[in-house]
Amino acid sequence: MNDKIDWKKYLIVFLFTVGLFFSASYASNYFGDKKINQLKSIQEGISIDILSSETQFSLLADLSCKNISYSVLSGELGELGNKLEWSEKNLGKADTVSYLKKYYSLLQIKDYLLTKKISERCKTKAAFILYFYTTKENCSECEREGLVLSALREKYPELRVYSFDYSIDLSAVRSMLQIYKIEDTKLPALVIDDDVLTGFREMEELESIIKKSFKLEEAKSVEETESKELP
């Protein structure tokens, strides 16, 4: 029987299989890069929108709110966030993804500042939540808080939720942590209307806070329109 074994074939099949493994890795890498590129282009788009609105805002500082168009929707940023989260878990391109995540955090901060300014000046209906989280190992409740926030965002499209990874190495985020005195032992932490809430918060509790926040805005805007109408 010994002479019947075709060792060459065993080797050739081995080499083919190794070749296939490399091809599969290559294909996987190719799609991974495509996804990264998609993320980058979404970020570029959002970045341009924010920059353009900021510029417009400065230009038209004293003019009517009607002329300001701000097109970044909270959904767009949210979707980008979801995709980044998925990439972090599945893509395995840790360096690129963490770079993109930093960029995303910056975009969130800029969007927050700008939307807040526009909403204050132009009295648009808006509420903001800054959400600080960290890894599952260090924050058992963060996953659930994330679920609550996603559900809230779906229910109230005017609500803008900005989420920040506590451990991200970005000075802008660190400044925010300092401003609101966020500690890593008290995560998840939420900032709503400059109030800091730590630990897990139920949907109902947050909902009532947000509604209050909306009402305040509305009350303010009604006041202002009324005062404008008076001679």
């Binding site: 029987m1 074994i5 099949v13 659930r144």
Partner: protein, 414 residues
């Protein structure tokens, strides 16, 4: 832990790809040798053949089985048929007795002792140089025997020739799924035949040279897979087994999941335990491709399927856990946010491409097997039934068989 699991996963994927690739390359090497003889063929000599039909409670199917043997296109005086009733409790003996008037039919009645004992009773009475067996739930096609015998005429060293076994009149999805599986079996068997590495000489109509049993002894219990045990024994003793792809046998297959499950549990249990009994053969190059390819392939399949099943259960558990957390936190919500990821969240791990590759080759093997049986290229739904049904069920009987082996519980025939 995840690292070990990842390594194991990749090793199993690698081996699975290797096995499919090996079959494929074997096919490319030998494709010109696969022929289907559509016209009746003639032999220079027609050696005498005895066909043993062991029956146990097969009153419904025995008539057609014997009829197909009597209708074989082979000189009538060269075929002896032994009908052996292995202590049936239904009307099998009456059905068998109806054939006792034929000059070339002999009937035997014995106490129930299991299929291998019935076969051995037949073997004791065989006077011819060639002997085969035919399960009483199978039907042979008229040209099968002459085509099989041509293999013996061609090569003096060929000791056994197995036919192409396919499904008899599939009536439901379960049998349709098995039809696709049997087609793949035809392809696999042909390739193993080229490699000299066949590990089962199927109960339905494998023909042996009588000297196989004279030299190696009669059938053994072989964990209720006596047709596998004898093939292992032949391989161990360097006896050549071939596969005649254009000799067709149609066999009745399990019609319900329960019956299929029991049959497969018996087969896999037989594979595991015969392999354990013949473990001295494994990876020893003097036993050829049987030791280096066939047996390892079986072991790889069992490991891969069991592992993937475990992984699937783990993932499912994880999914359910997350859903429970989610429902407990925000209630039932038919969120659309996950759909937003669309193609983005498409799995593009290297393993995904390799699994697609393996499945493509499996489908290719089914199509080719069917081509070898029917002579035409067909893509049909039963492949899908097969892939879906066996994807779910195979891990269960595999794990059950492993479990039974560990606690050494022998499976029942039916």
């Amino acid at each position: 832990m995840t690292l070990i699991s990842d390594i194991l996963f990749n090793v199993l994927i690698f081996l699975s790809v290797y096995v499919q690739m090996f079959f494929f390359i074997t096919f490319l090497e030998n494709r010109k040798k696969i022929i289907i003889r559509n016209h009746p063929i003639k032999l220079t000599k027609y050696p005498k053949v005895t066909v043993i039909v062991p029956c146990w409670n097969e009153e419904k199917t025995i008539y057609k089985t014997v009829r197909s043997l009597l209708d074989l296109n082979y000189p009538k005086d060269k075929i002896n048929i032994f009908l052996i009733d292995d202590g049936s409790t239904d009307g099998t003996w009456d059905a068998v007795s109806k054939f006792s008037g034929y000059p070339n039919v002999k009937t035997f009645h014995k106490e129930n002792g299991g299929k291998y004992t019935a076969l051995n009773l037949g073997l004791e009475n065989v006077k011819t140089d060639f002997v085969g067996c035919l399960d009483a739930d199978s039907i042979v096609e008229a040209e099968s025997l002459v085509r099989i015998m041509s293999y013996f005429e061609r090569d003096k060293n060929t000791m056994a020739v197995a036919p192409s076994v396919t499904v008899l009149n599939p009536n439901n999805i379960i049998q349709e799924a098995q039809k696709a599986e049997y087609h793949m079996g035809v392809f696999t068997k042909k390739m193993l035949g080229f490699l000299g590495a066949i590990h089962v000489t199927p109960g339905p109509f494998t023909i042996f040279r009588k000297q196989v049993f004279d030299n190696l002894g009669p059938y053994r219990h072989g964990y209720s897979t006596e047709d596998m045990e004898i093939a292992y024994r032949m391989q161990k003793n360097d006896y050549k087994i071939e596969h005649c792809n254009d000799a067709y046998v149609y066999t009745k297959t399990p019609s319900s999941i329960r019956k299929l499950y029991r049959q497969r549990l018996r087969w896999i249990y037989g594979f595991i335990n015969n392999t354990i009994d013949y473990r001295g053969v494994l990876f020893r190059k003097k036993y050829g491709n049987f030791a280096l390819f066939t047996l390892p392939t079986g072991i790889i399949s069992i490991s891969a399927v069991s592992y993937l099943f475990g992984k699937m259960i783990y993932n499912l558990g994880h999914l359910i856990y997350s859903k429970i957390i989610s429902v407990g936190t925000v209630g039932w919500s038919f969120s659309t946010s996950t759909n937003n990821l669309s193609w983005f969240s498409m799995d593009a791990h290297p393993s995904m491409f390799l699994i697609i590759f393996v499945y493509s080759l499996v489908i290719f093997a089914i199509v080719l097997g069917r081509k070898m049986v029917e002579g035409r290229w067909v893509l049909s739904l039963n492949m899908l039934y097969y892939l879906l049904l066996f994807r779910i069920l195979a891990p269960l009987w595999l794990i059950n068989a492993i479990y039974n082996t560990v606690i050494s519980k022998k499976p029942a025939w039916r």
